[in-house]
Symmetry: C2
Subunit: 480 residues, 2 copies
């Protein structure tokens, strides 16, 4: 981020959005007038107003932070979005493409030709080019790589070589290094000589001649200590550091725990290779939690609010297909008891309650277990205790809610035996739910997948099918 963005006037971005939408509307009205009155498109007055609106739009956009332009692009339906994108200065394309969501980025890149894309990407830092590269056409990436000098090309290639969820993919190459055997005075002079510091520089990295990291010098210490002392004397020689192959989630947890702003990334031999900063960490956390939230609801990936019906549908079908399969299996469980239902149709009315309460209670358990696994809070020593607690809660819930529903079923159908079956099967299915909510995430974790995805589907599938089976089975045995 450049200096000028740090002094962005703090106007509410929602207001900017409204102004932009106003300008678009005015622009469209003028266009519509031109068309409707069938006037020559170059009619002087109209053309002037037309140009004025667009000029004002350009000016408005020029004054906005790239993140705010990105926000506005996301909030606009496709054709308005492209109108605005057209008015954005070409040299800002790159930084704005970085800020928009993947789905919206795709819609913007589609409209740009190769020359524009190369120019946009060339204005970025190497780690940013690597972020953008997977979304660019292959030939654009090739052309782009040719335009870079060797050092930068190596950085982009190395960034691209790391797994998306590793520290290597998140790190940048903007850091200031210094030797341990110079005084703070020299360090201060060196910074003045540089004339600029990378954003988020809260510490200098102290390295040996071969690039080996020996410590970090927080700017704070540089500022408060006597300029005569040596870097070696005031540096911190056991800094929190990361390796490019470290798991990104672990690194973000370390940033949160130790309140870091930046941290060095070193290779296996201890040589400085990059830097991780809090802004990237925060973006990563936000992206991960959004992905979790969307995937939990069955959206495969982030979806452009104004995408086409066809694209959106493809984003959602996998989930619906999986749920259709589980629903079909549960339906066959019910199908096995059709004879019982014919004799006592009340069973059909009551069975969704047994299944539904199991699903809700099972998902309470599985959500806690998923969170516990994600935070590393659950291990083999405390797992049994946690399971014991969940079974205890299920028993308590079973007695309370089973009791309530038993009475309700009795009152509705004046059938004491039905009430008893209802109560007993609620209790049993809540126990099943506790086990499913506990073991579904544990199983998915054991299989090496992220328990955040699939735990809910699996838990609900078990509580639905078992709920129907327990309730209809007990009813068949005891009531008919």
């Amino acid at each position: 981020m450049t200096e000028q963005h740090e002094s962005q006037p703090h106007e509410h971005v929602e207001d900017s959005l409204k102004q932009v939408m106003d300008l678009i509307t005015r622009h469209k009205v003028v266009e519509a007038l031109v068309h409707k009155q069938d006037m020559p498109r170059h009619d002087l007055v109209e053309s002037l107003v037309h140009k004025q609106n667009l000029a004002e739009l350009s000016k408005k956009l020029d004054g906005l932070h790239p993140a705010d332009v990105a926000y506005i692009l996301e909030a606009l339906p496709i054709e308005d979005r492209l109108l605005v994108w057209d008015r954005v200065k070409a040299e800002r394309d790159g930084e704005i493409l970085l800020e928009v969501s993947d789905a919206v980025r795709e819609s913007l890149i589609e409209t740009m030709d190769n020359r524009e894309l190369v120019a946009a990407a060339a204005s970025l830092d190497t780690d940013e080019i690597a972020d953008l590269a997977p979304d660019l056409p292959k030939d654009v990436v090739q052309e782009l790589m040719k335009s870079l000098d060797e050092a930068k090309r190596a950085q982009v290639q190395s960034s691209l070589s790391y797994d998306d969820d590793s520290v290597g993919a998140l790190m940048d190459y903007d850091f200031v290094t210094i030797r341990a055997d110079v005084t703070l005075e020299v360090a201060l002079r060196y910074l003045r000589f540089l004339g600029d510091l990378p954003s988020h520089t809260d510490k200098l990295f102290v390295v040996e001649r071969d690039g080996h990291l020996v410590g970090v010098l927080p700017l704070k210490r540089l500022l408060i200590h006597d300029p005569e002392v040596y870097v070696a004397a005031v540096m911190s020689d056991e800094p929190v550091l990361f390796h490019p192959s470290d798991d990104a989630s672990d690194a973000t947890q370390a940033f949160e725990r130790y309140d870091l702003i930046s941290a060095p990334v070193v290779d296996a031999r201890g040589r400085l290779t990059g830097r991780l900063t809090v802004d990237v960490v925060m973006d990563y956390i936000r992206d991960e939690t959004e992905a979790d939230m969307l995937q939990a609801a069955g959206l495969r990936e982030e979806e452009d609010l104004f995408t086409t019906v066809w694209k959106a549908a493809r984003n959602r079908w996998m989930w619906l297909a999986i749920n259709l399969c589980t629903a079909l299996i549960a339906s066959r469980v019910v199908g096995a008891f059709e004879g019982s239902i014919e004799k006592l149709a009340a069973l059909a009315a009551l069975m969704p309650i047994v299944a539904g309460m199991g699903g809700n209670s099972g998902n309470q358990t599985s959500t806690l277990v998923v969170r516990g696994i994600a935070l590393g809070l659950i291990n083999k020593d405390n797992a049994r205790r946690l399971l014991g607690k969940e079974i205890g809660i299920a028993l308590l819930n079973g007695v309370v809610w089973g009791g309530v529903m038993g009475v309700v079923a009795f009152l509705l159908y004046k059938n004491a035996a039905l009430g008893a079956v209802m109560a007993a099967s609620m209790l049993l299915n809540l126990l099943v739910a506790a086990l499913a909510g506990y073991f579904a995430p544990a199983l998915i974790d054991r299989l090496g997948r992220d328990p955040a995805f699939g735990s809910a589907v699996l838990t609900t599938f078990i509580t639905d099918s078992m709920g129907f089976f327990i309730f209809l089975g007990m009813a068949t045995v005891f009531l008919l």
Copy 2:
């Protein structure tokens, strides 16, 4: 955060947890031996081993960052947790209480007497005391306030006066101010004179004599510019700033957008009153997203993994009660068609599929709408377009999945009319789902509540009840 924590050796905290658990187990084994062999508790050898384990545990804990101790406390069942808590040095109690989750904090505070609590809280900054105060007994807070000097007491009271979700509740009072009419040389000397800087100081706040904020001086500029120039010449005079009453979510979004590390908070008259830092912002984001995730699964608040069955049950009952009510209403819808189900029990087997697919698809829509509302991406100008897209997807899904299920129903029951009813009611219920998924969050938002909560329950309630009604209703009209 003090300097020494920044240079925390980067040991994996999971390893620390394992070591602590090992020590606890060894300690317990010794204790058990003492008991079992009915030896006098002061038997020399045993007592030595016993003491040694506990001493090692204390030493281990002393070397850990407060956030790591907090993590370990959260991962331990209650009695082990209290054993560890007992071994933590009293002067660290405060900073660790700040780091643990609300639920675990409660379990720790319960075991401390008033004197210990006052001592623990007194070691903290005023903004941290305000964070802790709501969890402390009333008389402890009173005693604590008496022990503070007037300025600090005023800060605590002011922090407590702000709404939990406002910038005022998140800001701290640790900042360095400077005048605009001094040179950078003077500023540098002043920092050396201070001898320490608050954590997360990336800029100095430039104020007038009356406290009016006139700009900020990033440390970066202080470092790279000629010491002879004046602060006024290099400061940024339009910094991003906040007011104590600003919504905390808006502020966190600004931090993410503009990649801030710290920002000044000013009162209505432009006087500097506090500072917001990225670590607090990141914690806030994490807490909010966790709360969203837990509440979406029906956990009223963060739950201690090892809490008592009774406490956990109370945390979950509200949700189960609400779901029981909605399930009961849906059940009564089915109950109205018991006559039809008696004649054609296949309806009971197929109806959960219609309801379930509606629920899944409706929640895909509502999740997108909830996210759009939260990010401020949806407004009255683009709302209709979004609704149009969702209805389009519902039609497409209805034709595809309705078609699939129509064929499946026909194959299962060799009944073409049943297949047709199945297909038609899937299509209709998916349309209902799109409308419910769109309007449920919009309605909750209009009522001034957070759409993240309740949207799923409301959507599912509508798709369940309407799914049963549409399917059983059509079956009754066309099949019987």
